[in-house]
Symmetry: C2
Subunit: 451 residues, 2 copies
């Protein structure tokens, strides 16, 4: 496709080019634009009908947007600002360097500049920073016929016309009405007769994006009204922005579970110094807490010196304990964040983990025993005494059970203490079960082995 279009440019067949372009959807156009040289990019962009041009623009990566907007005349900038949906405009301003922001603000009306400044003051990740002000609002005393006429006249400027919001004179939100209900009602019915006024799902301007995403999921919404503390409608948030938020929140959780303080940008956009800053804190904490393991081993130095073969099993025990614990804590952290379980379920979870860990531990320790006692002897001619194979496998059994119980309790405990389970339980689980594994190991050695 791209090559066909580039050929048309080369042959200066601009009419044919325009014809081909308007068949495409804005996402495809944005992909094409970002793959061609600047000159061709500008030609393509200028041939697009205004609305398609602006919509394609909103799908570009910010560096592409920068490249294009730098080449814009004042008139073109004004046009872009007029046509962009307000939330896309705010996103754009947040991404652009200062000189371009100045250019954008100069091309905006006074009214718009005021609104932009107000929007930029909402905290990041709040409903205020996600919402758009271009929603469809209806009055109570309209008939369905009048409402439809009104929608036909003004709908072009609303980001979503599929939900209408009914407000009074002071902009207080009275109710919501889906376009579906409007379309399916008789023309002479009154809005006030059919709109839903009780039990409206709303969010507050300062609500965190995680809360908003949860409401979208729970109520299967395609948009949600945002109200201020006085119940006045200040904007709406649409589902396409929430899909991004859901991915962002999931990314954040995964990063926290891997002991990284969440990045605010994409991997490639974070410079190395900032990246290092996000990673060092937990690595330091975990490194220093690993001294406990050194401490435990140090205490049993003389035992190990007498039977150095016992050394070799420490990594195996620590790794298996860490993996078992991580399995459980990941499951519990995820279920907590999806709201499928709560702290109140702790007893049921412990029972389940106890049963599962028992099964898992039995199998692992039997396999391990057979491997140590029979296989290593046969294959490598290395003789592991029965006591050694027994103590190692017995330790394995206990540590797997312990690791799974700790793996379940740690995130539940974090949640109970109002700490973030992903951040608290994710990174710490391995260190904690490592120490437990060593304590069990040395306890069993001193109990069962004749040192």
């Amino acid at each position: 496709m791209k090559n066909i279009l580039l050929d048309l440019i080369k042959e200066k067949k601009f009419n044919k080019l325009k014809e081909e372009l308007i068949k495409l959807n804005p996402v495809t156009i944005s992909e094409i634009i970002s793959g061609v040289p600047t000159r061709e990019e500008t030609i393509i962009y200028r041939l697009l009908p205004k609305e398609l041009a602006v919509r394609s623009f909103s799908y570009l990566e910010s560096e592409e947007q920068l490249r294009l907007i730098t080449s814009f005349s004042t008139g073109e900038t004004t046009e872009l600002i007029d046509e962009l949906f307000f939330d896309d405009l705010i996103d754009l301003i947040e991404e652009m360097p200062a000189n371009i922001v100045t250019k954008i603000l100069q091309a905006s009306t006074f009214e718009n500049r005021k609104k932009i400044n107000h929007f930029l003051s909402y905290p990041e990740e709040s409903a205020g920073s996600l919402m758009t002000t271009e929603y469809l609002s209806l009055k109570e005393d309209m008939s369905i016929g009048e409402a439809l006429k009104y929608i036909r006249r003004t709908g072009k400027n609303s980001e979503s016309i599929y939900t209408a919001y009914i407000t009074d004179k002071s902009k207080k939100l009275l109710g919501v009405l889906s376009l579906r209900s409007i379309i399916l009602s008789e023309l002479d019915q009154q809005i006030s007769d059919i709109y839903k006024s009780d039990d409206i799902v709303t969010v507050n301007t300062l609500d965190d994006q995680e809360i908003i995403a949860d409401k979208f999921k729970k109520y299967d919404l395609i948009s949600i009204p945002v109200v201020d503390l006085e119940g006045r409608l200040t904007g709406i948030i649409t589902i396409d922005d929430i899909v991004e938020v859901i991915e962002e929140e999931n990314t954040e959780d995964m990063q926290k579970m891997a002991a990284i303080n969440p990045l605010t940008d994409k991997y490639m956009d974070v410079n190395s110094l900032d990246m290092a800053k996000k990673r060092i804190p937990w690595l330091l904490i975990l490194m220093i807490s690993a001294s406990f393991t050194s401490g435990v081993i140090g205490k049993y130095e003389h035992t190990l010196a007498l039977l150095p073969i016992l050394n070799g099993f420490i990594p195996l025990l620590m790794d298996t304990a860490g993996n078992s614990g991580a399995q459980t804590s990941t499951l519990v952290i995820r279920e907590l964040s999806l709201g499928n379980i709560g702290v109140g379920d702790w007893f049921k979870i412990m029972i389940k983990e106890f049963k599962v860990s028992f099964l898992v531990a039995i199998i692992l320790s039997i396999v391990n025993f057979l491997r140590l006692y029979y296989l290593e002897m046969t294959l490598f001619g290395r003789v592991n005494k029965f006591e050694i194979a027994f103590v190692v496998s017995f330790t394995l059994f206990f540590t797997v059970v312990l690791a799974k119980l700790v793996g379940a309790l740690l995130p539940l405990g974090a949640q109970k203490l109002k700490l973030d389970p992903a951040l608290m339980a994710g990174p710490l689980i391995t260190t904690i079960v490592d120490v437990l594994a060593l304590i069990v190991y040395f306890y069993l050695i001193t109990t069962f082995m004749p040192v």
Copy 2:
């Protein structure tokens, strides 16, 4: 709210109860229903207007649905089946025990039974199993006015009326048209003049849900048409189902990264035996591969026996290497799955990880050196020779750098080999960098220390 309603039942004020109920939205009602005893549940459900009753039903957990449906008369079952959206009906049938499925199928028309059987034959997680057949379809030769009339007449039975699909006589998909465009067009325009026919975004009945979710995200869709291999429209998928898919896919990735074979149900719904089966395979593989670490340590047994203090630092080195590697691999796996980076970016990623790891490694090893050489001496009176502190910290430096490079290469390699990075790279990263850490440690010991 629940208590008010229960009081109304106790006082037998059913009219007032009904009045209160119809103000609520279906999600709230489903929450109330699932929190009350069976008798009250049935009373509330029966007081609801048909549509609200069915919509509330579709939000219930499957055990609640089972409880209710068991108490239904044949007439009520038929009503439920008639009113449920087809995809919810399929979900219901998939969840219910055999005797209830029989009851549902008996209450269905012959036509519906055929359709149900056809739907049940689509593979799980395919577009076919996610789609609904209740979409809005228009003909090319309608005018906007006729289309609107048609929508008003038939819209009640469509799950989504916000996108209309234009098909020919053989059901081949010709184009799509948003309700927005219909509403904003003149009544005497022809559908054929305004619908979009090129560059339609579709999915195939057999496409995996991950592909579908990606298209929703990329194109900001609220519904997508599903076509068969001949391009005939077979159904549509709506955004609310895709939001669930996105969460499912993320959950699956997290489980894979924690060395669990993905669960197909919620944690609480999986029995202990199945749960153990999902966890044992990777634990076994990882336990057995941990023999490499035992092997490395075994080879240096005599060195460790001469200087047993060196033992104590092994967990610290392994843990820090594991954590560093996991940080990088988690970031890379996640960015790969979001499509933000590709295998082709490997060189840029390696450069970035090299810089980051250098910064991180320097800081960690300096802190570690100071702690070992000065602090432990002062605080615990324990003397660590300069050589020991030096070798441990030097090892730390190299292993952190190595761990980060391996953490980046492993998922990229898995992707390149068309293996799932989350499954392959997630669980293995710790084991691999553990072995590397030990090799570096013993190499540096034998090089720098007079043993």
